[in-house]
Symmetry: none
Subunit: 213 residues, 4 copies
């Protein structure tokens, strides 16, 4: 392709990325409703109107951002998962990746709940971007799914021993991770990733070590 066109495309993509970076910062601080397009624009070094050259509206910015962040995490999780290692180590690596990645992004991810169409996912049809939204929801499910894969593999190899559905346990794990992220968020600073990861893995591994039952 014409190198000039290529360059312009690249520039355009770069600018789109800058806008999302700015948006992530502002959305993370204020949530969907409370962020003004103007804040994002200012943060990105554009005028408000310019944003419309790159995204059709506020919703599109939010959803594009959410999708981008999600894809990044899924990609990192994929890389973290090494079949050569034992499964518990894989889980540990994945948790660490989430903490590490979220180090930059988690505040935003926690504001997903402030997206109108996302409240209960119930009002998705009210979004002008229901397709984008739908796609995002599907992406969201991939994270527990990756954990479930490792759990299944670990049980098959005899490393783990549990009766419950792997999908349920995977969900529990993400819940645990989210609870940590939330507490970090309330403290306004991240905790010690290594310690926290070790703690979680220990808990996942043996629970509270109940003697009965």
């Amino acid at each position: 392709m014409d190198p000039k066109v290529l360059r312009e495309k690249a520039v355009r993509e770069a600018k789109r990325g800058l806008i999302l970076d700015a948006a992530r910062k502002v959305f993370a601080e204020r949530g969907f409703h409370e962020t003004r397009l103007e804040d994002i624009a200012a943060e990105a070094g554009f005028s408000k109107a310019s944003l419309y050259n790159y995204y059709t509206d506020k919703e599109a910015i939010f959803l594009s951002l959410a999708t981008r962040e999600l894809e990044r995490i899924v990609e990192e999780l994929g890389k973290a998962n090494d079949p050569e290692r034992n499964s518990l180590e894989n889980i540990e690596a994945m948790i660490r990746v989430i903490f590490a990645t979220f180090g930059e992004h988690f505040a935003f991810m926690l504001t997903l709940a402030t997206f109108p169409a996302g409240v209960a996912c119930a009002r998705m049809h009210e979004s002008t971007h229901s397709v984008l939204f739908q796609k995002h929801i599907e992406g969201l499910k991939r994270i527990p799914s990756l954990f479930a894969d490792v759990l299944v593999r670990g049980r098959a190899s005899g490393e783990f021993c549990f009766d419950e559905d792997a999908a349920d346990i995977a969900r529990y794990i993400t819940g645990i991770i989210r609870s940590v992220l939330l507490s970090w968020r309330m403290d306004r600073k991240m905790g010690d990733i290594n310690k926290e990861t070790a703690r979680i893995v220990a808990f996942i591994a043996h629970g509270i070590g109940a003697q009965t039952r």
Copy 2:
């Protein structure tokens, strides 16, 4: 006190309660920003303006509601906790109570994240009601705290065997519970409380039964 005054106070309190009931329903469906005072008013059988006779503003309604719901749960959790029973059973009872109680309220509790000042708890000072808000945050911490109590007791009695801080594990447990509530919410209906509770308790008890380590 003058019985007439008493009656009037009671009536007033009843009306405040009705407003909160209405608010819970609407906030639960739409989140903080998307619910309009008018919706709450209509649901409560008042006119929008009348709400101001009972609460100073929208934030006050939200925070009062959040606090009330929280108190109810804490109260129920207290009742569920029976020192005569073994600790795991207590944990199970507490989880069941949360599911049962949230059966009515959980949708609302999940919208806490849509409350502006609550996003990251970061902007608390921007709320006109920082005191109310502060109190609510403290209340929020009581739930994991109740779990921690049981965990500590269980460990002391030899029922449980874990090295981590009980507070951390308590937080994990609430994270697990929240993850279940979230998945119910996305499905738009509650799951089977008994089965889910059993699953969670099993997981908490022994984790994934890791053989290594």
Copy 3:
């Protein structure tokens, strides 16, 4: 009905009327697009936001106004039409009524063409108020229709003698009237209603008195 309710309804209707009066003035001066809701509000003595208590949006104001004006004219035309009189006199009376009524309203009526959905009536479906609009279009047709009635009656009684379709001639008559209104508008003042009416009637009666054919 409760007299208080009645009174309040009356007040409300009166205010709606005041808004339409203000709207007529501003729309007439500036056309649909160029009039700002704020101008109408100011002219009516309201704040911009208050208009929304009475009409759902700008389009609704415009269409309601257009319909009201139309109904008034149709009503007056009906009264002007006296079967006892001879038909040409009826036509004369009707024309005079239009001029007299339009004395207040014509400037607005000429701005009908500035209404987006009304341009060519082609984009009616793009209006949020296609029903209101449809109704209005139907109303618009009633004016030529009233002229057509008189023409038919006059031909039946032998007063008139023409071969063409009465509906076509009725349309010509409205065209003639509109051309006069337009020229008045360009002059920024009305002409002499009596003289103009007489001129038109004379023309309608015998055309240019062509000798040939």
Copy 4:
């Protein structure tokens, strides 16, 4: 002159013409306010910004177009007017020319009313192009004026017999023509030019053939 310069001038003029052609189509469909420069540009095969190389702004495009269309019609009317023929035939020819010419342009001419400065011609001074606009207004008057010429000639030669001012009757005739164009526009298709012309001429010739008076 340098032939190269000549060629470049010609090319430039051609492009200006293409832009006006595109503008006519879009203005005709949507009216002044609802057409966006971008639509015209796309229709003309240019980018929005390029239009500014040929016209100073949107108003200039509209007015230039209006003037061009007007001149074309006036020119055609002049050609249609043959002093050798009898006057009624000349009128008929002129009407036919308008219909034929407007076959391509009428939709646009009817949108003149959507031009802000043109609403009532009242706000002419608000236009940056009051000179262009003024010139256009004067051009507009030439059409009735041409009709008036024929009418005067016809009366002088005894072909016609009317007392009214020829200018008034000329205005009526244009009103009649416009009413037909409007009805065609509402129907979204042109009618039969020959039949319609004959009908109008018949009406103009003898009106409704009133017996009284």
